[in-house]
Homo-oligomer: 327 residues x 2
């Protein structure tokens, strides 16, 4: 009997996650029943949401997350041996499923890697579509600001906004990331860590105000962007990575007055509420990739035992593009 | 030659407006030219927006505001003697207009007072329609919270939400106001000044969360409501009267995380951006008044010289319903 491995959340994270908050546990892989399949992880996803979502979950759980897995034993005709699936099994090397919560990954066009099912063709890509196209609904010539722009979601947002005819301004956390954003066609890209005066910078690159803000970071940064919105601006609140590790609530100037005087709409969203639209968005993203309009980058860490280090890369800014672990 | 009177904003308000920030100035009413009319104020409106909007206007201006005026001299065939109009002439007893920015007030059904053109059949009534029906879009059985519920906008919001089949919870600033809200059919009404624990109160009257929040007050109160929203809740940000007189920005816990986790939409709006829809909303409100579904209350102060005192009533909570001055 082979052993499986899983990452257990021993203690709730306090502030920045610590290695000692988690442990790797070995377990016996059970024999599968009729109707079930045994899955082996191929790529595991690392996403910022894992930090806030686990805060209200019990200690001792297997760390949450999505993965691309392969069927290595099957007693379910729907999922024959070798089928690639998406599963929310968490940070585990092996899992058993009755197939109900598995999503088959369709064959991708030549040259498109399987791992994109966790990135541009997965949840982050869906998030970019819903948040930008549905919530922000940018019009040709409008100004779009993206924070966390070199992340899995942000880079897709910026590229889509750009080929939809917008002026796109991205913020990321290193010179390398800024260079990449410019390669992707962003009109302006800045390193938020070294920028002297965010307010002045926004006023200079968006003198008539920002029409759409795709917000991956929250916090004070986002309040400064909000103060530079144009009338009838739209904000897609996607993530707040800048505050996920705070141990007490960040205090910021009240925004009600700004929302009213500028007639701004802020919409918080979780793309999983729109699963029924994933097939449409996946097709659209595949088409954009084929047309060369939508590029992607992955930050691949090798080895299941390195999950925690890869996770920390989300907060330290070590990752460019989509962070995955290859088993 | 008759003299006119106007209220001049001598100094920007700092904190709570002071009588010495304003002065009454007499002026000569000029003879009118061909195509013009001379207007005499009949009812002048007092609205919270006057406080924040003047902050960015130059000192020395005539105080801003809308009024119902009557044509007392006419050289414009479109506006014969005796015509009742709405004008944004400000806090003035007499004004001259070429007719371009005047809105004729149509005859109302019997029993409906002319002054409602500044209240339920005017800007506040339009605000209630747009903010509640368009932004909040409450469904039958949903929970709607209204702050500033005994004000010109809030009472209409609550009544409309009620006859649209919602559970309506109102907050106002005195026992008399609470009693009136209950008479109007609010399911729950509270005096926010004496309530012990807003958070606990909201949890007890809306155990499954608040679907719609019509926000007239902003500030900490509104953040507590936000924390009690249901998934996919909608917030119409209409006013922030609780902070209009603050001299420094109120600091509040950042809300990005709440917006995301609960998938909330917050929309700031100014109803004047939707003027083309006023005729539709006025007809609808008249119909609701005729059907007895939409009641109204006015707080009438007599005398042009009492404008300032009536204005202060907005902030002290002295007014119930729509505040107007009758000349």
């Amino acid at each position: 009997m082979t052993k499986g491995k899983k990452w257990v959340l021993e203690k709730h994270f306090q502030g920045m996650p610590k290695r000692s908050d988690m442990k790797i546990v070995e377990f016996d892989i059970p024999p599968i029943k009729d109707g079930s399949v045994l899955l082996e992880a191929v790529y595991l996803s690392l996403d910022p949401y894992m930090r806030p979502y686990t805060a209200t979950m019990p200690e001792g759980i297997t760390m949450i997350g999505e993965q691309i897995a392969r069927v290595i034993e099957s007693k379910n005709t729907e999922f024959p041996l070798g089928t690639n699936v998406l599963t929310h099994a968490g940070w585990v090397s092996h899992s058993v499923s009755d197939g109900k919560n598995l999503t088959k990954i369709p064959p991708y066009p030549k040259g498109v890697p399987l791992s994109l099912a966790l990135g541009t063709l997965g949840m982050p890509g869906m998030t970019a579509n819903y948040g930008l196209v549905d919530i922000c609904a940018p019009k040709v010539g409008e100004v779009v600001v993206v924070s966390g722009a070199a992340g899995a979601v942000g880079n897709a947002v910026g590229q889509i906004a750009k080929f939809k005819g917008c002026k796109v301004i991205g913020f990321a956390g290193s010179e390398e990331k800024v260079t990449w954003l410019k390669e992707l066609g962003f009109d302006e890209a800045f390193n938020y860590k070294t920028i002297k005066d965010l307010d002045a910078t926004l006023k200079s690159v968006a003198p008539n105000g920002i029409d759409c803000y795709f917000d991956n970071v929250g916090g004070e940064f986002s309040n400064t962007v909000l103060n530079n919105m144009a009338r009838l601006g739209r904000v897609a609140c996607c993530g707040a990575i800048s505050v996920y590790n705070d141990t007490k609530p960040l205090m910021l100037p009240a925004i009600h007055g700004t929302l009213i005087s500028k007639e701004i709409t802020m919409t918080g969203f979780r793309v999983v509420s729109y699963r029924d639209r994933y097939p449409e968005w996946i097709q659209r993203n595949i088409q954009w990739i084929n047309e060369g309009k939508l590029k992607y980058k992955e930050h691949v860490t090798k080895g299941f035992d390195n999950m925690f280090d890869a996770f920390m890369g989300l907060f330290s800014g070590a990752n460019t593009g989509k962070a995955v672990v290859e088993v």
